[in-house]
């Protein structure tokens, strides 16, 4: 049943058998049904291993991880994009309003904290104003309402980043990565705005746009923190 060649069949499959032995094994295979059968089974095992699916854990491990590394996990639970795509409009209006208010507070307030300098005239109103009040009544469309404030915050951060770049505090590789990321995020924002124009009532699209804009703010905020503007 088992001859000496049986032990070499895996090497044969993997192509690691030296040429002379490979030729000898092939000659043996022609006359040995048992080895041919085993070879076929081994090939199927290899194919089966390759086809194994990755599955996520049954329980969400993020809360425990977040606790161990000392970041908050509950306040702004992130639903993966894939989940959101399939669930579409499952956010209730009050949920969305609350999320929008939190995002704005975190986004613009955090931006000024990170910059660690007094707000300049014009853009300065962002940090002080409490944006929550006017958002609770009509969350759908909040992005349009608040976009001028958002744009001001982004402009502020971008100019801080530009100064960091000019002063050489950010190396060119970092700048390149940042620039690429911003281009990607910006194109996502453009797409989301376009889709929203066609379907202004979509809670999903509003949430998606809010997330994308928040992402951009965060990226800018971090980058600016890495390269504080000189005055």
């Amino acid at each position: 049943m088992n001859d000496t060649w049986t032990e070499r069949l895996s090497e044969y499959i993997d192509g690691t058998l030296p040429d002379a032995e490979r030729a000898a094994l092939e000659a043996h295979l022609a006359g040995c049904t048992a080895c041919r059968t085993t070879l076929d089974e081994l090939r199927r095992v290899v194919a089966r291993a390759r086809a194994l699916d990755d599955r996520p854990p049954a329980a969400d491990l993020w809360p425990a991880i977040a606790e161990q590394i000392g970041v908050s996990s509950g306040a702004h639970h992130v639903v993966s994009l894939a989940e959101r795509r399939t669930r579409r409009v499952t956010f209730t209006v009050p949920q969305l309003a609350a999320a929008a208010a939190v995002l704005l507070l975190l986004g613009s307030g955090g931006a000024y904290l990170a910059l660690r300098r007094p707000p300049v005239e014009g853009g300065g109103a962002i940090a002080q104003r409490g944006p929550a009040a006017d958002l609770t009544t009509s969350p759908v469309g909040w992005v349009q309402k608040t976009s001028s404030r958002y744009d001001a915050a982004v402009a502020e951060l971008q100019s801080a980043l530009e100064q960091g770049r000019a002063s050489g505090r950010l190396d060119s590789a970092t700048v390149r990565v940042l620039t690429q990321s911003l281009v990607t995020i910006d194109s996502a924002i453009v797409q989301a705005r376009r889709a929203l124009a066609a379907d202004p009532g979509s809670a999903y699209l509003n949430q998606h746009l809010a997330d994308t804009m928040r992402r951009k703010l965060e990226l800018l905020r971090r980058a600016s923190a890495l390269a504080p503007a000189r005055t």
Binding site: M1, N2, E7, L9, S10, E11, T16, T38, E41, L42, R44, V45, V46, R48, A49, R50, L52, D53, D54, R55, P56, P57, A59, L61, W62, A64, I65, A66, Q68, I69, V71, S72, S73, H76, V78, S80, L81, A82, R85, T174, V177, L178, Q180, S181, V183, T184, I185, R215, E218, L219, R222, A225, L226
Partner: protein
């Protein structure tokens, strides 16, 4: 040397290509940078795109019972080591290598305990014709879990994860010849569990 070259694992199921949009490429690069600077939400996004792969690796390499615990450990270590990630390989490849290190370290400490519980019921010692009633009810994945320790690690790393014998030998502290023979042993044993 840990967390170095991507090796053959990049050939197969690179998570950067497998996730199909949302959190890949530039967006992932941005998240890695954000997470390295302390952004928990960016790190959560990385966790969500990679947890299935890490957890599956842990399940197959060690034991489903401790896979959750090991997975948490991997991400906690990844968070603290993000500053050492240089971007030479894909983030997923770096994380995968980190996971293997954590898993192998864990296996060493679990070794004695594991031996005590599993040796007696190890149905996959590849003795032909050995009559074990339960074995036919095992599916392929469970059967991997019942392989003897050395064969199991080599099989998962080679046939599932796509590493080469030289890389596996390096990780496990064995010679490539041993890795090859363990692999063959594992494949022979698993033939019975093809459905």
């Amino acid at each position: 040397m840990e967390l170095t070259s991507p090796g053959a694992a990049t050939l197969r199921r690179d998570p950067d290509q497998a996730t199909g949009g949302g959190g890949t490429g530039d967006a992932e690069t941005a998240d890695v940078a954000l997470a390295a600077s302390g952004d928990g939400r960016a790190f959560e996004r990385l966790y969500r795109s990679h947890v299935a792969r890490v957890h599956s690796l842990a399940r197959r390499m060690i034991n489903p019972d401790v896979a959750d615990d090991v997975t948490q450990d991997v991400f906690v270590r990844a968070w603290s080591k993000l500053g050492t990630f240089r971007g030479e390989a894909a983030f997923g490849t770096w994380l995968h290598r980190l996971a293997i290190n954590v898993i192998l370290a864990r296996r060493t400490t679990l070794g004695t305990e594991r031996g005590r519980y599993y040796d007696a019921e190890n149905v996959l010692d590849a003795v032909p014709g050995r009559p074990v009633v339960h074995e036919l009810s095992l599916d392929f994945q469970q059967a991997i879990g019942r392989l003897p320790d050395g064969a199991r690690e080599v099989f998962v790393l080679h046939d599932v994860e796509g590493y080469k014998h030289e890389e596996i030998a390096d990780m496990l502290g064995i010679v490539p010849g041993t890795s090859k023979s363990q692999l063959h042993h594992a494949r022979m044993a698993l033939r019975k569990y093809l459905e």
